[in-house]
């Protein structure tokens, strides 16, 4: 009886091949592509879309706060409070003169009474222009730089010595609650991103375990025929890469569409403040990193899950 021509497989050669097998891109042909589960790419897509929107929102808020701070940090308002209109006007001019002599001051503008009246009319009505209500004189002051609290106090002292009834307000103080709210929103966006990352990892963890359980018999056979953990892991990681990349691309497209729509809405407000929240090139680069980070997170989670599961097998 004839014997089949068995392949040459000297022990040393086979051992060498075995040692290098994990470096060869052949594992994908060992098994059909396992599936993580039909919905997993779409779950990843939704989560990535949420992260893109949250990241864009967080970055926009950061830009908005930075822009507002830059505009207001070096500005103060001086009020001259005096019931007598003539004296008030005289003291206003005196305050302007004192301010113009201070080195830290770049520009001074006495806000015209008409402008003040127009600003107050929505609240005070006709009283704003009647003269019955003593409206303080306001002086807008632009400083050469962002002043420290001690410097502001020094300006106020200098003014008070020359002009009675004067008060100095740093404009940025008025917006502190707004800054705090913006900061809280940024932290909220960051927290949302962290939670979504956690949810993504959990989804991939569950899907990887299910895929492994579904193919457990095949994985056991591969092990018994001499397959290594890394060969098996590579098969599954190939699937995770494909499905996570698909989900990440779809999610990014959805997220960017949502960001674009929101951007259009804010642009329609034609507000200078909203304009300060525009995303810069570096922000878009950061947003482009979201799908890449998502895929890497999925791969790392799947690798860890599969490695732990395989260690439980002989």
């Amino acid at each position: 009886m004839s014997v089949p021509p068995l392949p040459e497989a000297p022990e040393d050669a086979l051992s060498e091949a075995a040692r290098t097998a994990t470096k060869q891109p052949r594992a994908a042909r060992l098994l059909p592509r396992p599936r993580l589960g039909g919905l997993v790419p779409w779950v990843i897509a939704i989560l990535i879309a949420l992260v893109v929107v949250a990241a864009a929102g967080g970055l926009s808020l950061r830009n908005l706060a930075a822009s507002a701070r830059a505009d207001l940090a070096s500005a103060i308002t001086v009020q001259v409070i005096e019931p007598n209109p003539d004296l008030r006007a005289e003291r206003g001019k005196a305050a302007v003169a004192v301010l113009q002599g201070i080195d830290l001051v770049r520009a001074v503008r006495l806000v015209p009474q008409d402008e003040l009246a127009a600003l107050l009319e929505p609240w005070l009505g006709a009283a704003a222009t009647s003269g019955d209500v003593p409206i303080p004189v306001l002086v807008d002051v632009e400083l050469t730089r962002n002043a420290a609290p001690a410097e502001l106090a020094a300006i106020e002292t200098t003014l008070a010595a020359a002009v009675p009834g004067v008060r100095v307000d740093a404009q940025s103080d008025w917006l502190k609650p707004v800054y705090r709210a913006l900061e809280a929103l940024q932290w909220l966006a960051l927290g949302l991103i962290a939670l979504v990352a956690l949810a993504t990892a959990a989804a991939v963890w569950l899907a990887s375990r299910n895929a492994l359980a579904q193919h457990r018999e095949t994985v056991e056979i591969i092990h018994l025929l001499g397959g290594t953990d890394s060969q098996i892991t590579r098969i599954f990681l190939g699937t995770v890469l494909r499905e996570a990349a698909f989900g990440a691309l779809v999610g990014t497209a959805l997220g960017l569409a949502a960001v674009w729509l929101l951007g259009q809405q804010f642009a329609a407000l034609d507000s200078g403040m909203a304009g300060g929240g525009a995303l810069a090139a570096v922000d878009w680069v950061a947003i482009a990193g979201v799908p890449i980070a998502g895929v890497l997170l999925a791969l790392a989670t799947a690798r860890l899950t599969i490695a732990l599961a395989l260690k439980g097998m002989l």
């Binding site: 009886m1 004839s2 014997v3 089949p4 021509p5 068995l6 392949p7 040459e8 497989a9 022990e11 086979l14 051992s15 091949a17 075995a18 040692r19 290098t20 097998a21 060869q24 052949r26 042909r29 060992l30 098994l31 059909p32 018999e217 095949t218 056991e220 056979i221 591969i222 092990h223 018994l224 025929l225 001499g226 397959g227 290594t228 953990d229 060969q231 260690k311 002989l314």
Partner: protein
């Protein structure tokens, strides 16, 4: 050559239990030598498949010590098991073909896992499938194959990489007598020409007589008996036929 370096497998007082059940294998102590042909016999439930699982590294023993190819399995980290498994060829009782792969890819699996060149894989697998009479079924998946065809694919897969030890659990149970004899001759050829140690579990007494130089190990209720001198050193060929 010393006795120790000549051994392929050495069991020392090995026991196996599943969970908290009583031991299915007890106090097994024996040695398998290179180039020998062993039949493992015993009634159903005697523990043949459990013993084979220990041999093909699908199970760790509950107690005792096992050395294989000179290495202590009890202290060996699992990362090194694939290297040992690649020296084994296994015909599983229920074939255990990968259901999604074709006959060709199933047979090619051990070579591909070992990182063999694809050209060599194609040639070797084609020749092997031709020899077991399944060249025309190369692209068939297991679900569409008969039991006999699946068994021949499983045997082709077990021998394709010229294993140093071939372990077969009832390898001729689903094939006709002519094919059974042909497969047995393949095992003999591996044994004689390549020096592969062969362990065949069977309860077919007629099969034992067809390999005159074979040695017999008999399992009875998890205990190994040595009716023919198979477990002594040097082994006494033909003792069981």
């Amino acid at each position: 050559m010393s006795e120790r370096s000549a051994e392929i497998v050495k069991f020392d007082n090995v026991g196996l239990r599943y969970g908290t059940d009583p031991e299915v294998l007890s106090n097994l102590s024996f040695t398998l030598y290179p180039g020998s042909f062993y039949f493992l016999t015993g009634a159903s439930g005697a523990g043949k498949t459990s013993l084979l699982k220990l041999l093909y590294l699908a199970q760790r023993p509950s107690r005792g010590a096992i050395r294989m190819f000179g290495q202590d399995l009890m202290t060996m980290p699992r990362e090194r098991l694939p290297d040992l498994r690649r020296r084994l060829g296994v015909v599983f009782q229920n074939f255990r073909l990968v259901p999604h792969l074709t006959a060709f890819d199933n047979v090619a699996l051990p070579l591909r896992l070992a990182g063999a060149d694809e050209g060599r894989v194609i040639k070797a697998v084609s020749d092997m499938l031709d020899w077991v009479g399944l060249a025309h079924r190369a692209q068939a998946i297991p679900a569409t194959m008969s039991g006999g065809e699946q068994q021949r694919v499983a045997i082709a897969r077990a021998v394709i990489a010229r294993p140093r030890m071939l372990i077969a659990d009832e390898p001729t149970g689903n094939v006709d007598p002519e094919m059974a004899l042909k497969l047995l001759r393949l095992f003999e050829a591996l044994n004689n020409r390549v020096g592969t140690t062969v362990v065949v579990a069977t309860h077919d007494v007629h099969l034992l007589k067809k390999v005159p130089d074979s040695l017999i190990m008999r399992l009875n209720k998890g205990q190994l008996s040595d009716p023919t001198g198979a477990l002594r050193y040097p082994p006494r060929p033909g003792g069981g036929a």
